[in-house]
Amino acid sequence: MHFNEIPLLFVLIGLVLYTVLAGADFGAGFWQLTAGSGERGERIRDHAHHSMATVWEANHVWLIFVLTVFWTAYPTAFGSIASTLCVALFIAAVGIIFRGAAYALRAGTETAREARTVDLVAALSSILTPFALGAAVGGIASRRVPVGNAAGNLITSWLNPTSILIGVLAVATSAYLAAVYLAADAARLGDRDLEQRFRMRALGAGLAGGAIAMGGLVVLHADAHPLYDRLLAGTGLPALIISVLAGLTTLGLVWVRRFEPARYTAALAVAAIIAGWALAQRPSLLPGLTIAQAVAPHETLVAVIIAVLAGAAILFPSLGLLFKLTLSGRLEHGEDKGDNQDKQRPAHQGQIPIQITPARAALSPTARPGLSIRLAAACLIMGVGFLTFAEAGWAHLIGVVALLGFIAIGFVAVAPGEVAEQGTADVQDGRLG
């Protein structure tokens, strides 16, 4: 592997994680769409929402990662892809708006009917975004995105046989991943009924996805022959085989209710197919543009690689913590509607407030109100002097720090909590008289 390709490897890893994690989130929306009405449908929709609520935001950030690393390391390719595929990307963006808005809105729903309406919005995104992003990938894979500012056809670059195939496959894959994950979650929660229903959905979606993929080879043969050749006969073949095997293994695991390992084999099947595409297309990014030609200057690559590795060192432990807490049930499922709070409250009754040490007492505004006011005033005067009347950069730094000190010490001096305890004269019993 060449140095030039390391950021691309990061992008592909991000794309796999986005497909697997955010894909499952979108897929959960798909099952909400098809859940039907009534109490049974409501349980499916609630389960789909609650399973995803704690992690969906983090899952979606993978797309930001993919975009930013790609445009930093391969800017020309990014500009060409984004401008030619703008319609597909815009549709994907609209789907993402719907997804996030639906999440925000669900916290405020009070009736089952409201929740159903909101879920419908989320469900729309489950079709729009995976399809549009898959279609965009199809446009790149079938060599319909030339180098240049919107140099390709704005419509046929993403509405063509290969794009439609990959778009539909993306929707099916999302639904499949979601069903596997939701069945695993239901099994973990000990809900046999939900587990069984998502198991059947997983099997159905898995078989449908497999059938689309197999049938799709015919489409690739006709529409994207170079890709077809290299997937079936060239460098992409091992990845294709791994993907098929992992897909079949997942079906078997779901059949025998081994959902936890099925999560990982399902993810492997998706990862392998993305790897297969990358291997089949290597070393070309776009027609007439190789990775070596598209790559950013050396110093940028070094900076990106350092930033990504350093970021990953912080990210993965954090992500591990989030998933561990979520999967062990230590994070509350969904928005509490009041009842959870009461249930959990006793756990906090016995907790001890932090001890007030002498140092804290000295800083406390009730102890020395005059001192903190004088300190705040001194900071303000110093801030004005260094920021407003001095010219040098270092002086401005001191000035800013002094002004931030004024805000912090001033806050301590005001002690808004204590001020608010004094009921104003016109107030009786907490209500305006």
């Binding site: 609520a53 930013t68 030609q293 608010a420 019993d429």
Partner: protein, 450 residues
């Protein structure tokens, strides 16, 4: 050889619509950024008070604000995603040419955003499941990443206004030093501090304003008073400081972007001892109907009443900011509102100091209810000043905005669709906030009330 793979500028008849679409996307996102900057810290303060005093009021306060934060963060995630899409959808040539220079800032911002999303998930859903200390601790990375994220984005904006760290050869950035471009840039510090303080002003006044409206409707228990006093005190301390920081920012603009300053003032000709005009309208090379204060501009910008201030005519017409009145009106709106907010703040602080209690005048609360929306107007006006004032450049002095724009057609369709969707998102945000506010207070009766 490399230059052969650069994108070339194209004729785009909807450049203005592309700029407006970008401006719309920013205007929707930036108020949400304010909450991302300030709200986690304010919530953590309330939670800290609860841990320290055991007073359940602070726990309820922190929990209710957490729900607001969760909803607004979700909307911020999507509006921020739209912005990163638009880097390619609207300005592919900008990204294609300079992605290698500024892109690093966004890549690091991506990680910051990750940490924020992860710990918001833990914080929001961990309220009743984690130990109090672990829960409080999970809020700290959430608050810090809100700051680092905006730092990265503003570093990129600082670079666009004051580009360094590369050379342009044949339309291609070479000799690129991304760290130097982003962080050794002297120009972005004032922007960062200015925006960071704005985050506290907007969040503080909007939050306090909501309880001011509640007071008009008779809701004024100890809970509401505390909920108003905390954000209001923060905003009131920050608002006067913002004037000093804004003045610093203006002096930096005068040094680095003299034409932006000329557009802000409407100064057509390079002038020694330049006056400052309050209000008025720029037309035919002068400000009409304004109130002129002699030598004031020279004094403010350079601390010298006889300093020479560069005018718009110092460069050819195609390098001058095309929308002088947009920049002027936006700047004066920002300064006007900022001054009003600072006066309100000083009034509040004086009442606290002299009477040791919250103000009682109904007028104070009426003005306070308006202060939140006004602070958002000032925020957006400030960004209009710096972004429209940078025109016609996307990268100051290096690339025209018209060279950056996409060659794709249909911009008005995308613009219209996005505007419609954002109206829907805006209504949704109002609906959810009203719903969250309506939820009954879960406070133990008796001792919590004074």
């Amino acid at each position: 050889m490399l230059a052969a793979f650069a994108l070339v500028p194209v004729q785009q008849s909807y450049l203005l619509q592309a700029r407006q679409m970008q401006a719309l996307s920013f205007s929707v996102h930036i108020p949400l950024v304010c909450f991302g900057i300030a709200l986690p810290a304010i919530i953590l303060y309330a939670e800290w008070r609860f841990l320290r005093t055991g007073d359940p009021l602070y726990r309820v306060l922190a929990q209710r604000w957490t729900r607001i934060m969760a909803a607004l963060f979700a909307v911020g995630v999507i509006t921020g995603t739209i912005l990163s899409f638009e880097m390619g959808l609207l300005w592919p040539n900008f990204t294609a040419t300079f992605g290698s220079v500024f892109g690093l800032g966004f890549a690091v911002e991506g990680f910051s955003f990750f940490i924020e999303a992860i710990f918001i998930g833990i914080y929001v859903y961990g309220w009743d499941r984690l130990s109090p200390r672990a829960h409080f601790a999970s809020g700290i990375p959430m608050a810090l990443s809100g700051i680092t994220g905006s730092l990265m984005v503003i570093a990129v904006n600082g670079w666009m206004n004051h580009p360094t760290g590369f050379r342009l050869v044949g339309g291609k950035a070479v000799d690129v030093h991304p760290f130097k471009a982003l962080f050794e840039n002297s120009y972005f510090w004032h922007e960062l501090v200015h925006m960071y303080l704005a985050g506290y002003i907007v969040t503080g006044f909007l939050l306090a304003g909501a309880y001011a409206i509640g007071r008009m409707r008779g809701k004024w228990g100890r809970y509401e008073r505390t909920a108003l006093a905390i954000p209001l005190t923060i905003a009131a301390l920050v608002a006067p400081v913002q004037i000093l920081v804004g003045d610093w920012a203006a002096r930096e603009v005068a040094k680095t972007q003299p034409l932006k300053l000329a557009a802000i003032e409407g100064l057509a000709h390079t002038t020694k001892g330049a006056p400052e005009h309050l209000l008025g309208w720029y037309s035919g090379g002068q400000v009409k109907y304004g109130i002129a204060i002699p030598k004031m501009l020279s004094l403010l910008a350079f601390h010298n009443p006889n300093a020479t201030v560069t005018g718009l005519d110092s460069v050819p017409p195609d390098e001058r900011p095309p929308d002088v009145n947009v920049v002027r009106v936006a700047f004066q709106t920002m300064v006007g509102i900022g001054t009003l907010l600072a006066l309100l703040a000083v009034g509040y602080l004086a009442t606290l100091y002299r009477r040791k209690r919250l103000p009682e005048s109904a007028w104070f609360y009426r003005v306070l209810a308006l202060a939140g929306p006004l602070s958002v107007v000032a925020l957006i006006a400030g960004w209009v000043t710096t972004e429209v004032g940078r025109q016609p450049w996307v990268v100051y002095g290096v690339m025209h905005t018209s060279e950056a724009v996409t060659g794709a057609g249909g911009i008005p369709i995308g613009y219209g669709a996005l505007a419609l969707i954002y109206v829907g998102v805006g209504l949704a945000v109002v609906w959810i906030l009203r719903r969250l506010a309506r939820a009954p207070l879960d406070l133990p009766e008796g001792p919590a009330e004074s």
